[in-house]
Amino acid sequence: MKPRHKKLAMIVAGVAALGVASVLVLDAFQSNLVFFFTPTQVAAKEVPIGKSFRIGGLVTEGSVQREDTSTTVYFSVTDTSHTIPVVYTGILPDLFKEGKGVVAQGKMSDRGIFKADEVLAKHDENYMPPEAAEALERAAKAQKASLSE
């Protein structure tokens, strides 16, 4: 091979390698490389069995029940299509609220309840004064009402 051909061959090989690399990256992003699993994945049994993992979603409205004598809390996590019941003993973060984001780490028990060792609140990127939030909420309700009529 002449040096010029050799250089060309090396460039072609390099471009090919980068092509393979990008295919591999795209492939990786197709599958689940995740910080947490969604309730749908849990329902579809796509989660580690008998192992600790994280579950993420919204706290279902009206699902939070606290025990009077201890710090144990019952609530459920939803991604609107599936809902998983969760039990947790400990102090909840300030931002833990019904309808808000949450990430819990723990294991599935045999009875299909997620026993959390740690509950983290996941807040969204929206910042606004409470009045604005209320106004938005009222507007959303009004829209909903007008749609259902």
């Binding site: 910080f35 931002l95 609220k97 990430v103 990127e125 910042y127 606004m128």
Partner: protein, 247 residues
């Protein structure tokens, strides 16, 4: 008005130009900082979900932005110095590194203070936090490599190579919240979307960003001046400068 910009690419003339510019940027930084902090802590309304704790964004977000932005600027200067053998751009890169590292540390620290009350944990190994931590390591690596090499020309070039290699990390930090479902929330302010933020809050934050820019420019220019003096200590103009300083 014709300015001969190339004139300022020589360390000697840049030294005096920087000397004139530093007070301007420093003053701008102080004024913007006071304005930004005032808006952030007294005028901006309480957040509907995070209450008062959200106010840390006025420091956290500018710091995080600066940490990434300064790294890119540093790598650009370093790469420029490597490609065209221009001493001044390599000195700029060296001068940027400590400020970049400071902002990275600030972003991690304030983020951690924020995380405890909001998320319920100081630290979590998600993609955003991990890649920002790597950024801090990259800054430290760059600085220690340059510190270990005695010959300034080699130090400039070696630093440039490691800085350019580390640039890979920047898009990873920036897009991590989109690529992986992290605990960290998405961007509140981005190019292609309306900001998800009330306007007073946004204004406070942007003013703080400008304050950080002014501060960085002032500090970096100051540091470049010192580096120029060190590197050019054998030249006649530095000797004359010192004579004038004594007299």
């Amino acid at each position: 008005m014709a300015i001969n910009w190339f004139k300022y690419s020589s360390p000697a003339s840049f030294y005096s130009l920087a000397g004139k510019m530093i007070p301007l940027f420093a003053a701008a930084a102080v004024i913007l900082l006071i304005m930004g902090l005032y808006i952030g802590f007294f005028i901006a309304p309480t957040d509907f979900q995070q209450g008062e704790a959200y106010r840390i964004i006025f420091i956290h977000v500018p710091a995080a932005w600066m940490s990434m932005f300064l790294y890119v600027v540093m790598a650009c200067w370093a790469g420029f110095g490597l490609a065209f053998n221009t001493r001044l751009s390599s000195m700029m890169a060296t001068a940027i590194a400590p400020t970049g590292a400071m902002f990275t540390f600030l972003a991690l620290w304030t983020g951690s203070l924020w995380g405890k009350p909001m998320w319920g944990t100081w630290w979590v190994w998600d993609a955003r936090l991990t890649s920002e931590l790597i950024l801090l390591f990259l800054y430290i690596g760059f600085m220690s490599l340059q510190a270990a090499i005695d010959d300034p020309r080699r130090a400039d070039k070696a630093g440039a190579i490691i800085a350019l290699v580390g640039v890979v990390n920047i898009p990873i930090i920036y897009f991590s919240v989109q690529w992986w479902n992290t605990l960290h929330q998405g961007a509140s302010v981005s190019v292609n979307q309306a900001p998800a933020m009330a306007s007073t809050m946004l204004m406070g934050m942007l003013i703080m960003v400008f304050a950080s820019w002014m501060y960085s420019i002032a500090v970096i220019l100051k540091r470049v001046r010192i580096i120029i003096l060190e590197r050019e200590s054998h030249t006649t103009w530095v000797a004359e400068l010192q004579k004038d300083g004594v007299a």
